[in-house]
Amino acid sequence: MAMPAVAVEPKVFKPEVPPDWCPGCGDFGVLNGLFQACAGLGLDPAGVLVVSGIGCSSNLPGFFRSYGVHSLHGRALPFATGAKLANTSMTVIATGGDGDGYGIGLNHFIQAMRRNIDVTYIVMNNEIYGLTTGQVSPTSETGMKTKTTPLGNLEGMLNPLALALASGCGFVARGFSGQPKHLTDLYTQGIEHKGFALIDVFSPCVTFNKVNTYPWFRERVYKVEDTDHDPADFHAAMDKALEWDERIPIGLVYRNPAPRPSIDALDPALQGEALVRQGYTIAPDTRQDLIHEFM
């Protein structure tokens, strides 16, 4: 797909169907940022595939005008990987929630980073299971009371940024849906990054998470771009990833200055035309060679 460098109108990506998220849900901001970023990059909706799992957040492809897939809970990344490998000319964006990506889908998340597939992964991290109406999530804070932890969560809180760094991810960022411009910027860089890009987004669930609310985040988040943080420094990035206190960093936490090529750039079968545009036939002499291996 030829990517016109000319920006288009964000409304190009707005479908007729309006989102049915709860009024005030953080996911609206996530979606708006994506309209902006794709428009800014001048993407053609027909050249974009958005793949999600299952969850409130995973309803996003239904509210975005492009090709889309609303797949299975936890399986957005494998689906997106297969799709990208089959058609490397598409811009592939995977989206979902914390339960989807860091709970049931965690193995795929880590391996996708290790594999380094050229997919931008946007996780709407509300630290709760929204669609199923308020159960504990791997990213729920220790001690948090939810429908399934009435006495408080006894488990540790999963740290997606630290895991991403430990998994060799070349682009690790965190945004906040209350800061839409900043978010758009992170998306833009993530989509442009050749290889797996993680954008974890604080996207408050106004209905079921009464702790990590908009004000809660507003009080705490600060942009690493406003500090002397060097996103090329792995150790500094790990420090940022571990910061979870009165101050919580958002922004581009890490970008590998010498990133490994993505798997789609390495696989010999993918260096010519996209697979979907290749013919089905194998030349008769190749066929003969294959047969002779059996003789």
């Binding site: 299952i54 494998p78 089959a86």
Partner: protein, 618 residues
């Protein structure tokens, strides 16, 4: 089988070169126009243990592993101890007389062919596997064949090492000459022919068949006995421009395969039962988003981890019940290794035409065993049926309905990337345009419309797929019914039964879902006595047949001890059914065998014998 045949067993420990000796033998004979079928019973250890490769040779292509062995190459003492008793009268055993001695008297009429390997091939002292070449040379002589085939194979095998070629040819010749001078050839002698043969396993034929059918994406997680498909693809990925990936688990495998299929490539994956269990959720996704995908389940003896190196046909229930809810799928069980070559092409065509997941059920017997195939059968260009695919960008006048409610139930498919056809595919129930129905309060009418649309797709599938045909006389006392890999063995058993005066015909089912109910009912409606043969305990196919057609068989021959059927099991089983037994459970052992294939000549079970009455160990 009108042409003479010989069954050879090659036994040894892992590392003794059983497989390569067998391979050399098969290729040598293939170059002289003799066909083969082979199956290896091996142990799930990487080194040591015991391996028992059975090879069946004939100018007429053998269709199965056959019954008792005519000749044995014993590469170690263990093999002599275990298998000497299994030889047919008139049979012979070849072994290194410098090392091994039979520990009991052979069955009457069996010839002990001790090869003085240290003298015939002094190099074998340094390189013990040289004994294999001596034995293969001797066996070829005893089969009545020229040594030329073997020489040419040794030349190709060691092409880069002339000295090795030379020493091997000398060893082979020494064995050949020694056998000519000292042993009596068996009564049966093989006749060379002009036919060319390729030799391949069902797994390799799956892989090559899929590649020739346009498979562009293969993804898998290793699992015996399906792993060789992945390995063939990995080895040919670059040359054939196929994206081949091993990923973290079978869940990822199937979701990637569906992701690729969704974009428009022919996409395939394979695993065995336990891995397939993990794939089931996504099979349902392919059903509702109507994405073509092909998943192979190479069955092994279950349940659970079960007996990973043994064969069984007990995953039909799993394939049938894969994923929740009602949706459309096709299940195909190829009938032979050669049929494995054709099946991916049929599977892709039906998957793409009907936009459904297709499950192929193979088994360890077919996937790890191998047979010779006429190379002309492999030199084909498969017809490609992609179904209704929209390739032209749309002017934009009419909104595109990905799930359009057409009379056929098939909705023309635009591949993502095509301008003017944007849609979102969802695993939630959706309307024709893809917009979710599940997000509304209730919508019985649209919900039913969409279910019905998908159901309607299946109305034409049975006519798209070839119906099974009866083999043998139209009228017979016994109709044998099987499915999948038992085909060849049943064909042979039916022939034997006819020779023994039991009029027998045979119906083998390849397309399990949907079943050709009308054709099968009409064929079996004329049967006097239906006997179902299947390689499992529970009679999963018998149940399926009854569920779909109401047909209740008169008898069942079942085997679930890990070993494949031999024709004699079926012949005896039919007689038992005729004698009044309803369910015959076949066991691969013979009353009186001293070891009953036990677990080793050393260790806690050494020397145990089967109590002939109870079939337990005394």
């Amino acid at each position: 089988m009108s042409q003479p045949e010989l069954i050879v067993g090659v036994g040894g420990a892992a590392g003794d070169g059983v497989a390569s000796a067998g391979n050399t033998l098969v290729l040598s004979l293939a170059r002289q126009g003799i066909a083969a079928y082979s199956y290896n019973s091996y142990q799930s250890v990487i080194r040591g243990g015991h391996s028992w490769l059975r090879l069946r040779f004939s100018a007429d292509k053998p269709l199965g592993v056959g019954d008792q062995v005519d000749a044995i190459i014993a590469l170690n003492q263990d093999t002599l101890d275990r298998h000497l008793q299994e030889l047919k009268p008139g049979g012979l055993v070849l072994y290194n007389g410098g090392k091994l001695t039979p520990s009991y008297d052979p069955p009457p009429g069996v010839q002990l062919c001790a090869l003085p390997v240290p003298e015939l091939c002094p190099a074998s002292k340094r390189l013990p596997v040289m004994q294999n070449t001596v034995a293969v040379g001797a066996l070829i002589q005893l089969m009545g064949l020229d040594i030329g085939g073997l020489e040419s194979v040794l030349q190709t095998t060691f092409a880069k090492k002339p000295a090795v070629v030379e020493s091997n040819i000398a060893a082979a010749q020494a064995g050949y000459d020694y056998a000519a001078a000292n042993f009596t050839p068996p009564a049966t002698q093989l006749q060379p022919t002009d036919q060319k043969w390729a030799q391949a396993s069902g797994n390799h034929l799956f892989a090559m068949g899929a590649a020739l059918a346009g498979c562009k994406f293969y993804v898998a997680y290793p699992m015996s006995p399906a792993t060789h498909i992945l390995e063939w693809f990995a080895n040919h990925a670059q040359r054939l421009n196929i994206c081949v990936r091993q990923v973290e688990d079978e869940i990822s495998v199937i979701n990637m395969a569906i992701g690729a299929g969704h974009m428009g490539v022919r996409s395939m994956c394979a695993t065995s039962g336990g891995g397939f269990a993990l794939m089931t959720e996504a099979i349902g996704m392919a059903g509702i988003i109507e994405t073509p995908v092909v998943a192979i389940n190479v069955m092994r003896a279950g349940p659970s981890t079960g007996v990973p190196t043994k064969t069984e046909q007990a995953d039909l229930n799993q394939a049938f019940g894969a994923s929740q809810g009602d949706f459309q799928r096709v299940i195909i069980a190829p009938l032979s290794m050669t049929d494995c070559f054709n099946t991916p092409h049929e599977a892709f065509n039906v998957a793409e035409r009907y936009q459904i997941p297709v499950i192929i059920l193979s088994d360890l017997l077919m996937s790890e065993g191998s047979e010779t195939v006429d190379p002309a059968l492999l030199d084909v260009e498969f017809p490609i049926d992609r179904g209704e695919v929209i390739t032209e960008a749309n002017g934009g006048e009419e909104p595109y309905l990905r799930y359009k409610n057409t009379p056929s139930g098939i909705s023309p498919r635009a591949l993502p990337g095509l301008p003017g056809h944007l849609y979102v595919s969802g695993t939630d129930e959706h309307d024709e345009d893809g917009v979710l129905i599940s997000d509304v309060y209730t919508d019985p009418v649209r919900r039913k419309k969409m279910v019905d649309k998908r159901v309607r797709k299946m109305e034409t599938v049975t006519s798209y797929l070839p119906a099974p045909e009866l083999d043998g006389p139209a009228e017979a006392d016994v109709t044998l019914v099987g499915w999948g890999s038992t085909w060849g063995t049943i064909v042979e058993a039916a022939e034997t039964l006819r020779q023994e005066g039991v009029s027998t015909n045979h119906l083998q089912i390849k397309f399990l879902v949907p079943l050709h109910v009308d054709e099968i009912s009409s064929i079996l409606g004329r049967s006097r006595r239906i006997i179902i043969v299947e390689n499992n305990q529970g009679g999963q196919f018998a149940r399926h047949l009854r569920a779909e057609t109401g047909i209740v068989a008169d008898g069942h021959i079942r085997k679930y001890d890990g070993e494949p059927f031999e024709p004699k099991h079926i012949v005896a089983g039919v007689k038992d059914v005729l004698g009044g037994t309803q369910v015959v459970e076949v066991l691969s052992t013979e009353p009186g065998w001293r070891t009953d294939h036990p677990t080793g000549t050393s260790g806690p079970w050494a020397g145990l014998r089967v109590d002939e009455e109870t079939k337990t160990f005394a």
